[in-house]
Amino acid sequence: MTPEVEWKKVSAELLILSLVEARPRHGYEISKLIEQRSGGAVRFYVASLYPLLYRLEKRGWIQGRWVEKSGQRRRRYYRLTSQGQKVLASQRRGWQAFVEAVNRITEAEHA
């Protein structure tokens, strides 16, 4: 796997895990939040979002559950598992270190 693919993969996982940290969310809500909070710069299409959700669920980092609320159709909500919390904390640290390193490299040099 090239560094670019690995970087995108980890960042996509980090986005999903972060969004289900506070409370369970369904897939469409996750995709809308990513789009809204990034100001439209980042979008997850159906074809990429759900396979990622299923992969994270298979790893045990998130858990999906059908929830039926009164007057609404049932929806599959994803919540962060305890294992997912550890992975999220680790990925956050790694991402923060990566961003800081990139900033240090790319910041303008002052003579």
């Binding site: 159906v46 074809a47 396979p51 299923y54 992969r55 929806r75």
Partner: protein, 160 residues
Amino acid sequence: MPDWREEIARRVSFPKLDSTREIEIIEELSQHLEDRYNELVSGGATEDDARRDVLMELNYEKLLPQGRPGTVHEVPLQPVAAGNRDPNLFASLRQDLRYALRQLQRNPGFALVAIITLAIGIGASTAIFSVIDNVLLEPFPYRDAAHIIYPRIPWRYTRS
């Protein structure tokens, strides 16, 4: 409103997944597409444009690498020109059969009525054919029954 389940079933295959999980995934994806479609329409898009955009989102990229358990991947649709045979006939047939089975599973009442109707239809056709065969086509239980003749002498030759 387009039938999103049908669109998904036509475009996406689910290798190594049991039918229950497959139905759940189709339900989940169809909800997402429906929400997106409603959002586009309420935002001013025409129904045709919204449908096209939503389907494009579904086909945006390969859903996942093939062969990985618990994942899904896209099945490319190959247009077949009129008069030409589908080059992937058996794959298409298998997909149609799986889709038909899924539909029957979703509507057990309809499936039961369809099966009973087919059984009665086949049974009735067989019974009618048996009667016609015995009465009209092969009426006598003799060898070469078709060669048996019924001689008649016209009345004018019998008058002396």
